[in-house]
Assembly symmetry: C2
Homo-oligomer: 230 residues x 2
């Protein structure tokens, strides 16, 4: 038998595709926080019945990026500054843990993947593709979670990121100035390749410090904004 690593075949249900479509729309900011999702309209636009759409929505509710009020509707979550602050402080703890677990498991494949994802961020930055820049930056950051060999930790991280990605996207969208072209991940990557674990942990803290601080000030300004209706 040939030694081929067959990846799992794609999900073939409408539901799965709807989930992907909706998630993308939310995480890129096409659907704004607080906005209501009208089932009939969306199902007509997607040429799908309401059943799979509703099931998809239930998934995203549990994923934490939608919230549902019985007989009232399903809405994009309205993340508060406190939510971001909470996620941020938890992220610090998880980062330390992830680095600690990943540390002894680092190998050539890890370093290669690290470089590859770093390259993806740099390319997105060059192309001024802000959405992709956020996406790739989070993927770069997520490598330590994927490598830590702890499924529960990884799952936790993924739930955390989706909401963060959404808010980073809105943030970028709001300040329509050019994104910093310099490479802020250089130190992070090289530290992960180095020998000083404590230094890497320390830097990871300060690294996300920067991103979050800006995000937080943005969120605090939005706090008194009225929520978007339908």
């Amino acid at each position: 038998m040939a030694k081929v690593d067959f990846s799992p075949i794609a999900d073939t249900t409408r539901r799965a595709e709807i989930v992907a479509l909706l998630r993308r729309a939310i995480l890129t900011g096409q659907l704004e926080p607080g906005q209501k999702l009208n089932e009939i309209r969306i199902s007509e636009q997607m040429r799908v019945s309401r059943a799979p759409l509703r099931e998809a929505m239930r998934e995203l509710v549990q994923e934490g990026i939608l919230t549902s009020i019985p007989y009232a509707g399903t809405f994009v979550v309205d993340v508060t500054a406190k939510d971001i602050d909470d996620a941020y402080s938890l992220n610090k703890v998880l980062d330390e843990f992830a680095i600690e677990r990943t540390w002894p498991l680092r190998d050539q494949r890890f370093f290669d993947e690290l470089d590859q994802r770093h390259e993806a961020v740099k390319q997105a930055t060059r192309n001024r593709d802000t959405t992709r820049q956020i996406e790739t930056a989070l993927q770069l950051h997520g490598l330590i979670y994927e490598w830590a060999d702890n499924s529960v930790l990884l799952e936790t991280w993924q739930r955390l990121t989706s909401r963060l990605q959404m808010y980073f996207a809105l943030h970028q969208q709001a300040r329509n100035e050019a994104v910093p072209a310099e490479d802020v991940h250089e130190t992070y990557v090289s530290l992960l390749k180095g020998a000083d674990m404590r230094a890497a942990q320390r830097h990871a803290r300060e690294h996300i410090d920067l991103d979050f601080e800006e995000l937080l000030s943005y969120a605090r300004n939005l706090e008194q904004r009225p929520s978007k209706g339908d």
Copy 2:
């Protein structure tokens, strides 16, 4: 106007009730890991159509206690020894964080609630109600998460617990010996009331150590067991 704190009225959809029913059945071990959930049979038993049942199932899939394979079925998750180990090690980290955050927020209401939950565990123990004993013990442990004032942390803990509760229940069910009558939470509670935060953190680690070690050895024995069909 009278000063009454009205709590939110109960969810009135069938879906919500189905979720509660299924969750309870899984977490108490009535539905075994690996078991398949036949939609038609369950919907007939509950006198409900498949639509709300399926939506409920999608929620529980995202909650991590069910897994779904398209066109094959939805099954109770088959937790491995590694999953428990992963959850266990993450729990250590989260416990430390939760205690740290809760520490400055402790007040009389916290201590009262602590005693109340502790009492609930002791009562369940006296009554030899193992299911309730697990439930109350986890609720006691969960207080530091509820009090930490961090919604993301709390959410993470709740996801973690549901799977743990399920496995603790199966474990208790398997070894049909009497549950230890002595009170293992006495020290934990008194440390949370004390002044030494580090000591409380240290004990929380060792405390869950005990529970998990036994659970792990049980899970490792089960590892080669064939998965339950329908």
